[in-house]
Amino acid sequence: MKTRPAIVAVGRTKFGEHYGKEPEQLIEEAWLAASQECNIERKDLEACYLSDCFLPITNKLGLEEGFLSELTELHVPMEVTRSVSAALLAACHAIQAGIYSTVLVGGIEKMTDRWDKIRDDLMLLEDTWSYYAGGTPETNHELMLRAYIKKYGITGEKLEKLNVALAQVAVKNHAHATKNEYAQFQRKITIEQVLGARKAVNKPLGLYDFAPISDGASALILTSEEQAEKMTPQPIYVLGISSATDYLNFPGRDDLTHFAAARLAMKNSLKMAGITPMDIPVVEVYDQSTVMEMVSLEDLGFCEPGTAWRNIRGDCQDGSGYYEINGKPIFVNMNGGLKADGNPLGATGGAQIFELFKQLRGEAGARQVKIDQVSPRFGCALEFEGFGTKAYVTILGRE
């Protein structure tokens, strides 16, 4: 990138159930946390890029921008997207174009308010024909797993290993979340629990394979490279950010074992950043399911297609789980991932950036990743909208 946008502060709420709070109280909390971190005032913001996936459906909020204007007494431009990554992408473009120098990027979602209808809403957003045919938010993940098993001819003992590896993904993410004060599920689970939940329903994937329904908000302050150094001693730079799009209709896609959009977005982001996957030791992927984490690692180029499940290492149960690829460790979803950190759609991407920001700055506390005694130089986040319909890849770096 020519001029590199820089993140100078991040903030978030705990993800989970926030029955007592209005949606705007959540974004306020996230914004306050971020603004305190870099000592910025509301009046310093030149624009706001916010995201929510379906607040107008879940909370019957119309123009959220107006609510936020009332709340903040700000009259700056505000744009709403469906994910934090999309907001960040738009904000980066504006900063690179020299239109603004400091903007707020935030995301919010309040899904538990509509607990009884949320799965229908999610499915209708994902693909209407699949919804009409009886699909659920879980079915495409299970069908992708079926396609994967068939394509790579995984049977017998290998199939059992694959199933255990997928269970390890959930166990690893839960263990990481115990060290994340903002995570929705700060408790460990066991491989037996994951396998037992599948067996209880006689299905390929069970309760512990899927991310939960969550409320939450996240925020970050994005500024220009020149401005950043005045605001914080260690800005984190956006080295590459890109998106790609695929069919809404999953059955109609060419390859049912991969997310083409993720591959393309990663390719373009790597090119912008001028690095390779081998340079990236910390990754936040969009693990709406354990299958999605596994397949995403292949799509991002960390593993060969059909092999990600063979690369999981360490004791996932005590939090030392990681992937080993070509002799190098890759740490995935250190915040607990969507599985354990939570998945308030419109805010989720912010939590991914939050985690990378903390990891790169060496501020991740008990879950800090160290490569040769130092915190990682580069990190990468993959966020999806829909079932791989849109993919956003963001690559962050310390310098």
Partner: protein, 502 residues
């Protein structure tokens, strides 16, 4: 709140599984497309419409749904997956229907994947009582089970007859049955109703007749269990089966529903025959369907006696003057205002007059119409090969046949009450179909319907030589459905639940 415009769009595409094919590169797409993604602008105007309604698909991948979204909860557990058509050119999502899967059942997905499936026209999901009934054909059954895949091939007619008659027919009865004593009765699956049965029967009649659906100028659907008080079943049948000349998204056909208890359909046989006989009108064929998810109050409640006999099914007949399999030689109808069985508007179940449904109602009208017809045509009972009548229970049709002088060999073959139950508007028509399935050329059939309220229509039919030629076109005969190895039996509570529908 309603969503008619959207419902119209979804069912317009989904009922028929409309698709498109690029005439330049051959790429196929589910749904209607104005241009091809491959060929871009140059493909405008070069996309041809195709559909998957009569096609056979393959279940590529599947999984089990145990926790459906809200509108699907009444379906219970079901298999959901991806179905491919045309060697994988088109892939669609779909659920398998006609399966009851227990909570503890283990499914081996790999044993299902790769099998051939047939798209079935069904209710899509549950909606509120005041909403439009949503339908779709993204429901599938295995082609090697109850319902085989059958191609629909139009056949150029070879012979024109002087009098109109039946040129093809189809009977549809669901896969599920309840068995109590000697009686088996058909039970709809939870996503079936009178509308879906009517479409199925009509589809099978088109397959059997080989008639080009565009030449069907009129469709009558008789039913007493239409889920709507106002909105015809016939319009759905016309749209899904593409009856009449298609102009844009409108069919050039007259579609109307009729109601007269169990003779709602049989009443219209003569109207259909008269219509196709009208000179210079251009209506070559007319279709009549009798379809019912026969209603009955639960046992022990007023009117609950009917619950012992009610069934589910439909029969469709196509009338015309070309390639006739049974000519209509005459008819006689009679009516009296006898309220022996009725259902008030808004009530879910019918009531009946107990012992007054027999002699002063059923027997009086069936005997009157049959004997008058024979008198008119100067025939004796012994001249007739087959006698078919309405079958509200196992006893009535036998008694009335005997009282009219018919012998067991003349009436026994038509009795389907012990197999399917009383299918109301579909009842005597299914009886007729069972005879047409076996009759030889040049045989005489009398069918006398009965509709409470009350009246009867008696028809004399004479089979032609073409009845034998056309028989091979239909695999799903009455017999195939009555004695099918894939029939599933359900218990009484399940039967009541399935009948109530989505």
């Amino acid at each position: 709140m309603s969503s008619e415009p959207i419902e119209r769009r979804v069912s317009y595409l989904g009922d028929r599984l409309k698709a498109s094919r690029c005439k330049i590169c051959g790429k196929e797409y589910f749904e209607v497309r104005d241009y091809c993604g491959n060929c871009g602008r140059k493909s405008f105007g070069k996309m041809e419409s195709i559909d998957l309604f009569y096609e056979k698909g393959k279940l590529e991948l599947c999984t089990l749904v145990r926790e459906p979204t809200n509108k699907f909860t009444k379906l219970g557990n079901y298999i959901y997956g991806i179905i491919s058509f045309h060697n994988g050119q088109i892939r669609v999502p779909g659920r398998l229907t006609d399966q009851i899967i227990g909570d503890n059942e283990e499914i081996d997905f790999s044993s299902l994947e790769g099998r051939e499936v047939v798209p079935r026209f069904r209710r899509r999901y549950s909606v509120g009582k005041s909403d439009v009934v949503p339908t779709i054909s993204l429901a599938f059954t295995f082609a090697d089970e109850y319902y085989p895949h059958q191609e629909y091939k139009t056949v150029q007619p070879t012979k024109e007859y002087d009098v109109p008659g039946i040129v093809g027919y189809g009977v549809y009865v669901s896969r599920f049955r309840i068995k109590e004593g000697n009686i088996e009765r058909a039970v709809p699956f939870i996503d079936e109703d009178a509308i879906t049965a009517a479409v199925e029967a009509g589809k099978l009649a088109l397959i059997h007749s080989g008639v080009d659906s565009a030449l069907v100028g009129k469709i009558y659907v008789g039913s007493e269990s239409n889920p709507y008080a106002v909105k015809p079943i016939a319009s759905k049948v016309a749209q899904v089966l593409k009856l009449g000349e298609e102009e844009g998204d409108v069919q050039g056909v007259d579609a109307v529903d009729t109601e007269f208890a169990c003779k709602a359909a049989s009443s219209m046989f003569k109207d259909a025959a008269a219509l196709v006989n009208y000179p210079n009108l251009g209506i070559k064929y007319a279709m009549v369907i009798g379809a019912d998810n026969s209603q009955a109050a639960p046992r022990g409640c007023p009117g609950g006696e009917l619950d012992l006999f009610v069934g589910y099914g439909a029969a469709a007949f196509i009338f015309g003057k070309h390639d006739v399999i049974a000519e209509i030689e005459g008819w006689y109808s009679c009516t009296s205002d006898t309220p022996d069985f009725w259902r008030r508007d808004g009530e879910p179940f019918p009531m009946h007059g107990g012992r007054f449904t027999g002699d002063p109602a059923y027997f009086k009208h069936v005997k009157k119409a049959t004997s008058k017809l024979m008198e008119k045509l100067n025939l004796k009972a012994s001249d007739i090969n087959y006698f078919v009548t309405h079958q509200p229970n196992p006893q009535f049709p036998v008694r009335v046949a005997k009282e009219l002088g018919f012998k067991e060999e003349q009436y026994a073959a038509s009795l389907q009450i012990n197999k399917f139950g009383n299918t109301y508007s579909g009842c005597s028509p299914i009886g007729l179909a069972s005879i047409l399935d076996v009759a030889k050329p040049d045989e005489l059939i009398i069918i006398t319907s009965y509709g409470s309220g009350a009246g009867s229509d008696a028809y004399l039919l004479r089979t032609t030589s073409q009845i034998v030629d056309k028989r091979q076109r239909q695999k799903l005969t009455v017999r195939a459905q009555a004695d099918n190895p894939f029939v599933k039996y359900v218990d009484y509570p399940t039967y009541r639940r399935l009948k109530l529908g989505l």
